[in-house]
Symmetry: D2
């Protein structure tokens, strides 16, 4: 991390999800902003929109890396839309652009982002997300958290180290 | 699938792996070629090289979609190197370019490819690969196979349908 | 453009360049910030660094979409590094993420970004940049500007329309 | 180039074009096949389809790197569709995957591919294509050809060296 540059925390999660998960995501976003970090996400609805909304209400800066070709697909709480036109491949950019990521709940898209983070060495904090077991019986090093504030605290801690 | 165009079967698996997995991959590649399909893979070593080697020995055509900027990184059994310069993001192209994929064993890269296939609806056959459980306790529709010939037979069957 | 979202102006130009071009780029960046727009660029040196430096000194927000896998390659004036790991293909994201782009001077990378902008319909303002003639003798609709302030004024105007 | 691996020649050109350009492209494709090289292109219509058609009729192998998410968008003369889902960014893969490229006529997409080839050092042969002048008055090293056979001969020559 560059000295003086703010931490960037990625939030991964499905574009359509249950209301309790939305509430979790909003609180994660708010806590990221309170901690002075930039929120990076995929820019669309569901977990992404709730997290961005939470971050904006807490005075934060939000970046949305969208899959399509139009900045207009970013949700209303995104300050900086990054327009990729790359579809699902944009997930990798969300992960790469974050110092640590928090995975909330679990679509297949979220699973692919978790896998990419594990592959390229970006720390992953999990909140009600996938359970994975490799063919040799081991579990990947996902840092489990029980609440939004714990998830953000752990993400900030590993992002700094 | 275009009439008259050959089926393309993707083989996903780690670039470095144990010798029994290498033997499985070689047999998968050979069987793909015997069935008249084109082998698509990530073009590097380990499972990818063994599968391509098996396919070539059985008279098949092999495509390797490599992550770097040099066709020279493709293994010696790749007929058509596709050079992306996109790093891990090339995994998505391997999946998208196949009518069905066979995931063998399990690195994080393989996990990300399985997740992408599930996300975009490309059928996945698994051979000694990841076990996944979503937050709501369900398991994704990975078609399990017990042998290379069963894996290829199932992949060809779902690719055709 | 979303109501309430700030305009994003892209600055395209070589990573290594002459000092008079650097001065032009710094003034372009400063003027973008003064006009209340976000600066989007490729995040590296030369024109990109000078423009970001100018924007920061004028109190603006800067986004750098870098080609490599490490946010650390972004220059010191980038607030939000977007890390692609996609090499040259990241140029397309710089163009797509801007409401209009200003091309300064001329490397081959800059030429490719101009071409992509023309292709996908993002307005291009040119400041001492490439002259292009298609096979049928026509010239593409690059909006020529004679000074940094004129370039930014024209970019903002076309970005709004 | 790997010993024993066939040369790959890329053909760049617009998806919709005049009939005389189509005839040129078909002859370029046929000559690539006669010379024993693999044709790589963007897989769609116009110049891409004509070149692939020519190559198939002369017994060659054709690769089409398509922008969308469906192999079905590849034209009928493509043996190996590579499906990117990356839109215009796929142009860079066409260039990277070729040992040399032949640019025919001139859309903005073709211009962007020429620029990328110049940037990353893939030799470019031009047939009735763009004329470019950099800000310092120089012209890029595009190898001009007057006929399809001359274009292919020059492309093969530079690809081998």
């Amino acid at each position: 991390m560059s000295p003086g540059r703010k931490l960037r925390i990625g939030v991964l999660g499905p574009g359509a999800t249950a209301s309790d998960v939305v509430a979790l995501a909003a609180e994660v976003g708010a806590e990221i902003a309170r901690q002075g970090a930039i929120l990076v996400c995929g820019g669309l609805g569901g977990v992404m929109e709730a997290a961005a909304c939470g971050a904006k209400r807490a005075g934060g800066l939000t970046v949305g890396i969208v899959p399509g070709v139009d900045a207009g697909e970013a949700n209303a709480f995104i300050d900086v839309p990054v327009v990729t036109g790359m579809g699902e491949a944009r997930n990798i950019l969300v992960v790469r652009s974050a110092d640590a990521v928090i995975a909330i709940a679990g679509s297949y898209g979220t699973l692919s982002e978790i896998a990419v983070a594990l592959k390229i060495g970006v720390p992953v904090v999990g909140l009600r997300t996938w359970v994975l077991r490799s063919p040799d019986g081991t579990e990947p090093p996902i840092i489990r958290a029980a609440s939004p504030s714990e998830a953000v605290a752990k993400a900030i801690e590993v992002a700094r180290s």
